[in-house]
């Protein structure tokens, strides 16, 4: 292992995985953590809870489509919702750099309050620390969240019931958040209209949970993108996942940026996209339900579980060829070669 932490360890790719498995998991080591789900599923007196934590360090703090506060609430709500739970309570810890603007802090807090109202969750505890100028980058937010989980939905986060023929859905185009952030940083040198897709997905997910027995797996496709979710799912379940490139929704503007900078949209971060594995029988109904919601209008079937006993993701390309999808080591960088 590297003697030092590098920025790649935070990318959500293979380096992050190596760090988690090699350092954190090997030390903390228990059967709940070992599932490495977005939310831990814990059982207290025969009731199940989903329990999650996350930290938000995004730069810039304000971006088209939201800010770090909105992101914190949406991200935590989504981690809970994709486990099949009803998000209920959130805590927030703030680490704020000396000199940070109070009016900006107010705006962030108001966004959080607003988003919590939209998502129907309560912020029930918090903490605030201030550090000297230069000791953190403007503002960091840590959250934890609890969701109420029915026992019958516990297998959703581990895809315990996955089988060949199950279909894979996503609720809309990928890559918007990553490109919006690059634009907000002034790194692009390209003019385009783009906004982060940052949104709380629990209302969308609750609509399809009426098909509870047919929802096999859910995960939100954040850092590392759609590809990382699928690779992790394939490896976790030992399944062969086949996805179809023409069916994966990507905005034209995001496609053009990717062509110009050499990015693969499959690995770009999202903050309002859920990947679902659903039963073949109810796929059409679930798709229709997703499409009737404002956060699911562009939902698509993008692939299926082809077989078991392998643990790989195969992409059928736009010209009918096939290639394997693997985890990236680290973040993508713009390239000219």
């Amino acid at each position: 292992m590297d003697p030092e932490i590098s920025i790649g360890h935070g990318s959500g790719g293979a380096m992050t995985r190596d760090l988690i498995e090699g350092l954190f998991q090997s030390s903390f080591n228990n059967d709940i953590l070992d599932r490495l789900s977005d939310s831990a599923v814990i059982n207290i007196n025969n009731s199940s809870l989903a329990f999650t934590t996350d930290s938000y360090v995004i730069d810039p703090v304000f971006f088209p489509g939201g800010n770090i506060g909105k992101l914190a609430i949406c991200g935590t709500v989504n981690d809970l919702a994709v486990s099949g739970s009803v998000p209920a309570y959130i805590t927030c810890g703030f680490i704020i750099e000396e000199g940070f603007s109070i009016s900006q802090l107010k705006e962030i807090i108001q966004s959080m309050a607003n988003e919590a109202r939209v998502a129907g969750v309560k912020i029930v505890a918090g903490d605030t620390k201030v550090v000297n100028r230069g000791k953190c980058d403007k503002i960091f937010i840590n959250t934890s969240g609890i969701g109420l989980l029915k026992n019958r939905d516990i297998s959703i986060s581990t895809a315990g019931r996955i089988s060949p023929g199950d279909k894979i859905l996503i609720n809309g185009p990928i890559g918007d958040h990553a490109i919006a952030i690059l634009k907000a940083r002034g790194d692009l040198g390209i003019e385009l209209d783009i906004e982060s897709d940052c949104a709380s997905l629990n209302d969308l997910i609750s609509q399809v949970m009426v098909y509870q027995g047919d929802i096999i797996f859910m995960r939100d496709a954040t850092r590392g993108g759609l590809a990382t979710v699928l690779v992790e799912l394939a490896e976790m379940t030992g399944s062969v996942i086949e996805i179809s490139e023409p069916d994966i929704p990507v905005r034209e503007s995001v496609k053009s940026v990717c062509e110009l900078l050499g990015f693969d949209p499959l690995y770009l971060a999202n903050e309002g996209k859920v990947v679902m594995v659903v039963s073949q029988q109810k796929c059409d109904l679930i798709l229709e339900t997703l499409r009737s919601h404002k956060l699911g209008k562009e939902s698509r079937v993008i692939g299926e579980i082809a077989s078991m006993n392998k643990g790989e993701v195969i992409l059928k390309t736009i010209i009918g060829g096939k290639r394997q999808i693997n985890m990236l080591a680290s973040d993508q960088l713009p390239r000219i070669c």
């Binding site: 040198g189 053009s256 110009l260 000219i336």
Partner: protein, 74 residues
């Protein structure tokens, strides 16, 4: 080694051109290509236009596909 994408010239400003690629636009330096005009398609690489694209030649490929491969594409 050469990631280069085509774009359409939509305005000119001295040795720079504004180029449209799908729904996005960017600026490139046109000092490496002669007589760039609005409406031209150029190849973009590292912030420069490196060559003009020929619609005539692109049409020739289509003809080749039709003749050699009898594909009937138009």
């Amino acid at each position: 080694m050469c990631l280069s994408v085509p774009g359409k010239v939509i305005s000119l400003d001295g040795s720079c051109a504004k180029v449209q690629i799908g729904e996005i636009t960017c600026e490139v330096c046109i000092k490496l290509v002669e007589e760039v005009e609005i409406g031209d398609y150029i190849l973009i690489h590292a912030g420069f236009a490196i060559e003009k694209l020929s619609q005539e030649k692109a049409d020739e490929i289509l003809k080749l596909l039709n003749e050699i491969f009898c594909m009937g594409y138009s």
